[in-house]
């Protein structure tokens, strides 16, 4: 049986209303996995760039790429896993910062090279950027009872060096 692997797919699409739902609808209609999806306009305001984290066998990923290309609004599709790439995700974590937690949180934040961006009497808000696994590791290393709230953006990815996705 074919093994499934995590893939990061980047795509450029016309920045038009409904474009996002065409992609989201495609994934649900065809039963493809979707781990995260991020989208925002690019330096060219007529184009949006989307990063989709999905998983599947090579055959499924091939179909996903083809089906995405088939969408009329999609200009270009790239499977970042076809080459070297960098992946980053932003996470904001609000943690308890009372008593011993206060020093502990500061220390953990430093270890993971995060930043405390809001300080309140009983809590810190930590900003952390990195690969999804790094963010997972940070969450894992915290005392569960200390986590008040988390929010993650989902991954953004970009090819290394000369790998450029542009119209």
């Amino acid at each position: 049986m074919a093994t499934t692997a995590r893939h990061i797919i980047s795509l450029l699409m016309e920045n038009e209303s409904g474009a996002l739902s065409r992609v989201a609808g495609l994934f649900s209609a065809r039963g493809y996995n979707i781990e995260s999806l991020t989208v925002a306009p690019t330096e060219d305001p007529t184009l949006s760039r989307m990063t989709i984290v999905t998983s599947g066998s090579d055959e499924v990923i091939e179909q996903i790429i083809k089906q995405l290309n088939k969408l009329i609004d999609v200009v270009k599709v790239l499977d970042l896993n076809d080459g070297k790439f960098i992946e980053r995700e932003l996470m904001l974590v609000k943690v308890k910062a009372t008593g011993t937690f206060r020093e502990e949180m500061k220390r953990m934040c430093d270890i993971f090279r995060g930043r405390i961006i809001d300080v309140a009497d009983g809590s810190f808000t930590i900003e952390l950027t990195g690969s999804g696994t790094k963010l997972d590791a940070f969450i894992e290393s915290l005392d569960k009872s200390a986590i008040l709230e988390t929010v993650r953006t989902g991954a953004s990815g970009i090819g290394r060096g000369d790998r450029i996705l542009k119209v």
Binding site: S17, G18, G25, E59, Q67, N69, K70, I72
Partner: protein, 581 residues
């Protein structure tokens, strides 16, 4: 271009209303028929239609029928079908028709009215999110938010619908936009940076394919709806003739290659012929042309793959390749262009073939053919549905346009009406929509006013769009309805017989109308035929009435089933034949 606009219609300047612009766009696209149904959100458009005489508007009795009729107009002509519906229920009624066209890749442009832009999102009367609802079953759709965008959007819609792998495109237009004014300027060309369908096949791949085909011991060609839609029949014929290959066709591909040709093995798949399915399973090199290895075609995928073969696949849609079955030699391109290139290669390179092996392969095929799987037990008492189709073929000399609904009658029509030409067999293959038959016949008859058009249907399917008998009367369409009436939802009954120990749950229909009187009530001719001996006479009589719509109610053998049959989950070579029972 003919264009008649009443004075006082436009405002004082040269500007046109959105509704008028829309009509002008349809003129520019040489639209002959618009199938539709008016309503609040499209009243401006209908007023503009009132003031023009370039295209004819066909008023249906239900929006679903408008979609099917426009779809069949397209299937039978190759042109883009056009439908016009109002907002809300008009659009939702159209959805089945849109999905039907989408599954079979039929080029259509659907214009739907929408509530005014200022009311969108406020749950206005007859509001629905038409673009959202139709998104999964259109090739593309648009919501026009500015009168200035109508012309360019319509140009794009026709271009997208007809190019690449064709499909339906919906344009949703809010009512206020159709009342606003602006200059009309229809773009001559259209360019979409995000949409560039490939048409020319890769020459290296074509060469590779040809080498495989000529060196094959047991080559086989499997042709689909793409050959019909891509107008590639002549090129396919040339290829088959020059290489002498056996060929089968999917349900959607029937007529793409003449059924009477000795190289043709008949339709394949769930109800395909013994020889076609056996050859498909046993071949060593398979050329798929504009077909998509559908579950109803190859049966159990694992079983199909258990016999190793090299597969070449020509398709205009890259996503069709390796979707269900891994393809060894993919050729993305327009089937017509690829086949033309292949034929040219054959002409210049005159490749040597494995003639000895090919001859013994045909010997094997002939052995399968000798099973005569299409034979059925004739009866002197009961009308056999297969017999009606055979006689229909005889009486119409095999030249009729045949539309069908969905179920047993559809399979019998596909099996026993031997199609010689493309675009003559009009049915819903992908979505399997009951109720398409009559509106399909309307679209075909309007496109071909002097042609014989037969709608093969059942008493279940016909009632799903029976109201269109009225439309047929209004436009005096001389369609002949061939209803195979077995008082059962036959295909459901057949499955219940095979897989549910004859528990005929809800597959018998009580209280059927008197179809003869019903036809007469609409001003048509109705006939009921109960004896096998009367079948031919009734058909001749009906087709002799060249200007009349005739409804023939054939009371057929209730127990007849469709054979051969591949049960769900079984492989191509595991057919049940009529003789096995």
């Amino acid at each position: 271009m003919k264009f008649a606009m009443e004075p006082g219609m436009a405002n004082s300047s040269k500007q046109l209303s959105g509704a008028e612009i829309l009509i002008r766009c349809l003129h520019e696209e040489n639209v002959e028929f618009v199938f539709g149904y008016p309503g609040g959100a499209v009243l401006h458009i209908y007023d503009a239609i009132f003031h023009q005489d370039t295209f004819k508007h066909i008023l249906v009795r239900h929006e679903q029928a408008a979609l099917h009729a426009a779809d069949a107009y397209s299937r039978s002509t190759g042109k883009v079908g056009v439908a016009l519906v109002t907002s809300g229920p008009g659009a939702t009624n159209a959805v089945t028709g849109i999905a039907t066209a989408y599954m079979d890749s039929i080029p259509m442009v659907i214009i739907s009215g929408q509530v005014p832009t200022y009311a969108i999102g406020e749950d206005a009367f007859q509001e629905c999110d038409t673009v959202g609802i139709t998104r999964p079953c259109v090739k593309h759709n648009f919501l026009v938010k500015d009168v200035k965008d109508i012309a360019a959007t319509m140009k794009k819609a026709f271009y997208v619908a007809a190019s690449g792998r064709p499909g339906p495109v919906l344009v949703d237009i809010p009512k206020d936009i159709t009342a606003h004014f602006c200059d009309f300027d229809y773009p001559e060309t259209v360019h979409l940076r995000s949409y560039n369908p490939v048409t020319k096949g890769h020459l290296g791949q074509i060469k590779k394919a040809l080498k495989l085909l000529t060196e094959a011991k047991r080559p086989m060609v499997y042709s689909g709806g793409g050959v019909v839609l891509g107008d590639a029949s002549e090129h396919l014929m040339k290829l088959i003739q020059s290489l002498g290959l056996p060929i089968t066709s999917t349900l959607m591909g029937l007529g793409g290659f003449p059924a009477s040709d000795p190289k043709f093995l008949g339709m394949l798949g769930m109800h395909g012929t013994y020889e076609a399915n056996m050859a498909m399973q046993d071949c060593d090199v398979l050329l798929a042309v504009g077909a998509r290895f559908d579950d109803r075609v190859i049966g159990n995928t694992a079983h199909f793959l258990s016999n190793p073969r090299t597969i070449i696949h020509i398709d205009i849609d890259p996503s069709s390749i390796s979707k269900r079955v891994k393809i060894d030699v993919p050729i993305v391109g327009d089937v017509k262009s690829v086949l033309a290139d292949m034929n040219e290669l054959i002409a210049t390179e005159k490749p040597k073939q494995n003639t000895v092996e090919l001859a013994s392969w045909f010997k094997q095929i002939d052995a399968w053919r000798s099973k005569k799987c299409m034979n059925f037990a004739q009866s002197s008492e009961l009308i056999k549905p297969q017999y009606v189709i055979q006689k229909l073929h005889e009486v119409t000399k095999g030249e009729a346009f045949v539309t069908s609904d969905v179920g047993q009658h559809q399979m019998w029509a596909a099996q026993y009406y031997k199609f010689e030409q493309p675009r003559r067999w009009i049915n819903s293959g992908g979505l399997g929509t009951m109720g398409v038959g009559l509106p399909y016949a309307m679209g075909v008859q309007l496109a071909h006013p002097n042609a014989q058009v037969a709608c093969v249907t059942g008493e279940g399917s016909i009632q799903m769009n029976i109201q269109e008998l009225s439309t047929c009367a209004q436009y005096q369409l001389p369609i002949k309805v061939i209803m195979l009436n077995n008082r059962y939802l036959g295909m459901v009954r057949q499955w219940q017989e095979f897989f549910y120990e004859n528990r005929y749950s809800e597959s018998y229909m009580d209280s059927l109308p008197d179809f003869v009187k019903l036809a007469e009530a609409y001003g048509h001719v109705g006939m009921q035929i109960t004896k096998p001996g009367d079948v031919e006479g009734a058909l001749k009589e009906a087709f002799a009435m060249k200007s009349r719509f005739v409804f023939l109610d054939f009371i057929t053998d209730q127990k007849e089933n469709v054979f051969p049959m591949i049960q769900n989950g079984k492989g191509l070579s595991e057919m049940i034949l009529a003789e096995d029972l």
